[in-house]
């Protein structure tokens, strides 16, 4: 699949910022940002991204809960979701893929290689 639009969801502004710069300039993708799970659901419904990068640990609505809500929406249930979290354990990767994530990117990450990592996960589906 060809990626054109990416939705990046993280409550940490610094992570959103560096991801946006690299996804835009290395991936050459149109990047939409959301700072919460609620905002992610709204933005995803409006923009119909090709892939969603979703932080696991967020206040109010965490990444797995947001993922579950995306999967309940007929218009968004097939959008690939990549979860991001610090220090991910193998059993957590399995748990998240069982929830419907296409993969997990561990933080810290190299922002310059983030787009290729996303492509790798999407092509490995």
């Amino acid at each position: 699949m060809e990626i054109q639009k990416v939705l990046m969801v993280d409550d940490d502004q610094n992570i959103r910022r560096i991801c946006q710069v690299c996804l835009t300039n290395v991936g050459k993708w149109q990047v939409f940002l959301a700072s919460s799970g609620f905002e992610a659901l709204e933005t995803a419904a409006r923009e119909k991204p090709d892939v969603i990068l979703l932080d696991v640990m967020m206040p109010e609505m965490d990444g797995p809960t947001t993922l579950a809500k995306l999967r309940e929406d007929p218009a968004l249930k097939d959008v690939p979701v990549v979860l991001m979290t610090a220090k991910v354990q193998p059993h957590e990767v399995e748990q998240y893929t069982n929830l419907g994530a296409v993969g997990v990117i561990s933080k810290p990450f190299d922002p310059l290689t983030l787009p290729s990592e996303i492509k790798r996960l999407l092509h490995g589906r």
């Binding site: 940490d12 610094n14 710069v21 690299c22 300039n25 610090a86 990450f109």
Partner: protein
Amino acid sequence: MSGRDDEATASESDLDDEQLKAVVAALQQEYAKELPAQLLEVERAYASALEQKGDDHKLEEATQIAHRLLGTTGSYGFADISQVMERLENASKALLGKTQANLEQCQIDGLWHDIEEALAALKRLQS
């Protein structure tokens, strides 16, 4: 979403490799200015947890800050600080929810000692 996020869309697209590296370096420098305040936040959270060692809520709060900083500092190139955050998170997670019924007191003391040592290492990195 902040205005700062929005600014990036207009000003930082279609950069060549050198320009991109310069933008990333500028972001790292900007983050470095914020970092002392963020490290103070984690230090204060752990100081509070150390004062009330039986209060898992305090330790949980501190752990969440360490977890966040583990990812952010490392992604901005501050690997040493990210490693200290990992030490803090590892010791904290081992302690959370543990009582003397399922963890020996000497193990509990050892994990708190790990946290104190990691905080001391953080101080050294900042000096």
